[in-house]
Amino acid sequence: MSIKRLFALAMCVAIIPAVALTGCSGDKPEASSSIVVGIPQDLEDSLDPHEAVAAGTKEILFNIYEGLLKPDENGNLIPAVAKEYSVSVDGLTYSFILRNGVKFHDGQNVTAEDVKYSIEKSAGLTGEQSLITAFSNIKEVNIVDNDQVDIVLKEKDIDFPAYVANLNAAIIPRGNSTPATKPIGTGPYMYVSRSPQENMILKKFDEYWGTPANIENITLKIIPNADSIVMNLNGGSVDMFARLTVTQTQQLSKNFNILEGEMNLVQAVYLNHARAPFDNVDVCRALSYAVDVDNILELTSDKKGFPVGSSMFPAFKKYYVDLTDSYPTDREKAKELLAKAGYPDGFSFSITVPSNYQPHIEAAQVVAEQLKQIGVKADIKLVEWNTWLSDVYSGRDYEATLIGVDASSLTATAMLDRFVTDADNNFTNYSNKEYDDLYKKLFVTPSDEERVEIYKQLQKNLADNAANIYIQDMAEFVALSDKYEGYTFYPLYVQDFAKIKLKGQ
């Protein structure tokens, strides 16, 4: 090839991209009913409902799996795979009558065997560890006939139905040996495919027993880089994104409706009480006095959000007690307490924050800056979500972490059981005898009124001992393209895609 021709070729090649360009401008084509939902992390823990731990995974799996019961948007338990249930007089046997004609996504009918298998697997009776602490109370699961399954408990637990509605107790087919890579459930949406770190695709399940979903196809697009969410939304490649920051919503174009709700979680700096200096209650109190929650809200969310003072959020109306005044911002007092604890010159520690949750990263920066004023130096350690799960949550190898903790079941216990000394999920290593005794009393107290009182005392215990630096139940902002409507907030950490529909559908 002569040099001259090479030159010509080079010029041609330079032009090709310019031609290709014309092919890509404009918006994506209007598929009849589909939606692209942005999510901040891939579902890395597991697609097996009995092994999923991350709230971000469970809120998506909510659309694929169902338990015998499930929560609705008002915080009630409604029947799902079971049509109804009853409790024996001694409170130990729960009888579930199965709904007729409930199908798995592979077309098979749900049988009593499947239910027995699922509950036993979920409860850890088949060898694995259970993610629902309360399920260790299950003695046996009995198939009465084709339509009835009885669950027998060792001890009475009036919260039991709430645990049955937990995603970790979802009903899956007995015959599926690999639920983690081939998820099959009974929910309104079925799993189609996934591409790691890219997307996951769901399709409407046509044989769903209940109110069918509206949108045919859902693409869950993974956007781990919080900085590019606004670009994705404004650019038109994502139709919906939940849990945005105020600053993000302010940058969105007019094509989006911003819906505001509550996240139903407790955002706090969770302290590892097994590590010095957080084994010293004065240090914990000092930090609580030093942190100014109003200032955090002002800086990160234009004052939107609901300050909390203990591990309970306002949506649990019956149990919630307002403890936000426990530690009014008082830096002098904080310094005194630090001096008393033996840290007159402060100390330094690190706050571990998952790097894909922008609101937590922002809050952590403000907290670090506030603590500096009492001489405490906080470094922020950003980690990938999965690292957070394995190091902080399971490994308990951290000093402090800023995160939101939600309730996995529709019961106040779900917020409080993790602070019992020997609880499996006690990732803060909180250990307080009074707390443990109070918690035990819950299960032997028959009167509802007295139980509510105990719940309140538990919250007070956490606040008094400054178990964690409590911040807020965050305001939730959901951006939904104006082509859609029907987004529904739940009092739990849940995304219900089945209720979303095209405008006018």
Partner: protein, 270 residues
């Protein structure tokens, strides 16, 4: 005066590079010394404040003064680059001097090793090193420093190869000078002209590497500011305050421009 014009015309890169670098250093120094704000101090009232007399470049999403942050971030970035290059040069000189001077099997093995490392994209290597040690300012310095050693070692080695049989070295040897003395007193100073321009270019690469790593979120961690980290943050506010991203990006670009011109100019002079 004419002499100066002539000098500039002969090597415009050197002078342009020196001026740009000096200006950037001055801007950062002034920002560190005379801006009356703590680069980390937050102020709700000044969120996204526009540039004004009080805040010359405006403020970021936490109401932190941008100029103060840019100066602090620039200082961090420059410090990391300096430390990285220092590690690279010092260990590069040691490895290069011994292998170049003595040759032999050790030289052969180390240079194969060197070539292997050089053939592989450096940012990926740094990523792997960082995955062992975790992120943070000092870990970035160490991981980048390690990655930078081979290129300096190669330069020093070839200079030593060239010099070791020159007359002045031979005569020093005849006079009974110790090997170490010959290597570091006689030969080493002669490698400086070549080493200087590669150091400046290495510095340039270090600034870019630090910025890339922090941009990916695996370098400097908040609340510490570095230019890459700031640019990554600024990306989230591109619509609300594009100035934040542009100012940060331009600062990085100007620092790199200054050093790359300086490096070119020094090479021409060498």
């Amino acid at each position: 005066m004419d002499k100066l014009v002539f000098k500039i015309k002969k090597n415009p890169e050197l002078y342009a590079g020196a001026v740009i670098t000096a200006v950037m250093l001055l801007v950062i120094l002034l920002g560190r010394l005379f801006v009356p704000y703590d680069p980390d101090a937050m102020n709700a009232a000044d969120k996204f404040a526009r540039p004004s007399l009080a805040h010359l470049m405006g403020c970021d999403n936490f109401g932190r003064d941008l100029y103060a942050r840019l100066a602090a971030g620039g200082a961090t970035t420059l410090f990391i680059a300096l430390a990285t290059v220092l590690i690279g040069v010092v260990f590069g000189i040691i490895v290069g001097a011994f292998t170049g001077y003595y040759g032999g099997a050790l030289d052969e093995i180390l240079m194969r090793f060197n070539d292997a490392v050089l053939a592989f994209p450096s940012i990926l290597l740094a990523l792997v090193v960082i995955s062992i040690m975790g992120s943070g300012t000092f870990k970035v310095i160490i991981s980048l420093g390690i990655v930078f050693i081979p290129s300096f070692a190669r330069i020093v080695r070839s200079e030593f190869l060239r010099c070791k049989n020159l007359d002045y070295v031979r005569s020093a040897r005849l006079m009974g000078a110790h090997d170490l003395r010959i290597m570091f007193v006689h030969i080493l100073p002669n490698t400086f002209p070549v080493l200087l321009s590669s150091t400046v270019i290495g510095f340039n690469n270090a600034v870019l590497a630090e910025a890339s790593m922090s941009f990916l979120g695996i370098g400097v961690q908040p609340p510490s500011s570095s230019l890459g980290r700031m640019l990554s943050d600024a990306q989230a506010f591109l619509f609300m305050s594009p100035g934040y991203a542009i100012l940060t990006g331009v600062t990085i670009a100007l620092i790199i421009l200054g050093f790359s011109l300086l490096g070119d100019g020094l090479k021409k002079n060498a």
